[in-house]
């Protein structure tokens, strides 16, 4: 939904609408992500069993390792590209942001956060528990199982990229997040991010001990610890809402009457 108003009364020329909120890019991104994940799930359904059981087989290299060696560089480029673009195009005159423009950017940030939240669902919920059922079914002979290639090395980097984009957008364009670092926002991004390096501990441990048999094995608890930091979404929501209230003082009574 877009809420638009005409710039000048009686004149509605193309390109002159003053849009305060536009969640369409966020909806489209989530739609694309949904289609992508459904597609990759269908791929997994077929090639998990057909080519994913023996990592020494040539077809494993073809269908799974090639996928991993494709996705990892692309993710690294996307991470650097999004961060670099947002930094390069940052507002260099952040003190002069007018209230309406600031509100527009805050609402754009909420769109970023929606995309981040959606990607967190896929990574932390969908693909992580899926990995549990694969380990219960197939004894692995590699750290790079079909479920890991989609979980650890695809869905986790994607939510990291989305979180990084949200963090950098706020840091480069919204005054309250630009001049100082929000502790909640930092935890909200950095905690789930740390789940990715924690894979190093996890796979190192599995090199010595076969512990897939229990998903609750202590070796997995690093993921739990860093997952807790996603609760910092509470602090981020408060900071965003506090600023929206400050910028909307004139309509406070109307909001309370809702």
């Amino acid at each position: 939904m877009n809420l638009t108003t005409e710039k000048a009364a009686g004149v509605a020329r193309a390109g002159e609408v003053d849009t305060i909120v536009n969640y369409k890019p966020a909806y489209i991104t989530m739609g694309v992500m949904l289609v992508f994940y459904v597609g990759i799930r269908i791929y997994e359904q077929y090639f998990g069993w057909k080519a994913g059981l023996d990592s020494f087989a040539p077809e494993f290299q073809t269908y799974w390792m090639n996928l991993m060696w494709t996705e990892l560089p692309l993710e690294f480029v996307a991470f650097c590209g999004i961060g670099g673009y947002l930094w390069k195009t940052r507002d260099r005159n952040i003190d002069a942001v007018a209230p309406r423009e600031e509100m527009r950017r805050i609402l754009t940030l909420i769109g970023w956060l929606a995309v981040y939240a959606f990607s967190v669902y896929w990574g932390a919920s969908y693909f992580t528990e899926q990995d549990g059922t694969w380990h219960q079914t197939v004894i692995r002979d590699t750290d790079f199982t079909p479920s890991h290639i989609l979980e650890f090395y695809l869905s986790y980097p994607i939510y990291i990229i989305c979180g990084w984009g949200a963090f950098m957008y706020a840091h480069t364009r919204i005054p309250q997040f630009a001049k100082r670092i929000s502790l909640a926002f930092l935890m909200f991004f950095a905690g789930p991010f740390m789940i990715f390096p924690n894979i190093g501990l996890n796979e190192w441990g599995h090199t010595f001990w076969f512990m897939e048999e229990l998903f609750t094995a202590p070796l997995h608890w690093g993921f739990v610890f860093f997952g807790w930091f996603a609760l910092a979404v509470f602090g981020v929501a408060r900071q965003v809402l506090d600023r929206v209230i400050e910028l909307s003082k004139e309509y406070e009574k109307d909001a309370l009457a809702l």
Partner: protein, 256 residues
Amino acid sequence: MSASTETGSPAGKTWKSKEEFLGCVILTDWILLVILFAVLLGSFHIHYMLLAGDWDFWIDFKDRRMWPTVAPIVAMCFAAASQSFFWTRFRLPIGATTVVLALLIGEWINRYDNFWGWTFFPINLVFPSALIPMGFWLDIVLMISGSWLITAVVGGLGWGLLFYPINWPVLAQYHQAAEIDGVLLTLADLIGFNYVRTGTPEYIRMVERGTLRTFGKDVVPVAAFFSGFISMLVYFLWWNMGKWFSTTKYLEIEEV
């Protein structure tokens, strides 16, 4: 980029009209709620599956001793943190119900699409534990008492005690006794043995044992009472965790 200009609104004003403001606020409130729901779903799910997952995944792990002890204690963490945020900041008594609903949506999608759809385990082997009545209970205690202290004590104890009874209507049929090749076991065990997993061996499965049993037939009440006791303590801790994660503190850039 220096798009710090205002177009179309009165000088220094954020909104052009009340209608624009109200439309935007209502829409954005809903989106924020969806964001909170999705993030809580993801983080609660990874927490729950890696601390209590095996008991929640499999019918033959849903025993009378370990499952009713571990699952409520682990689930209490996010219920308390979520209540802390929604009640302290918004006076909404929905925190516990919201977060267990989020968890169960994530779990059911997974059990159907992955446990059944990918690795072909039957749903009656892998359905998740029921938690929603416990969420109702905790939220109602908080709403009526208005006190997190009372909720920790009364709600926390009830949280642990309720877990087994609310799961019993579905579980009872699988605890029927069966004799297979001269061995006495439950239908849940039988289903588990028919679907061999890496968690199947008895030295891995953490369930109550027939030997060295202290409580005889009264295993469940003791386990539930113990679970309620620990849930109280967990509630205290995680209510404050929820408060801590609600921080609006800023760090100076030089500090980072």
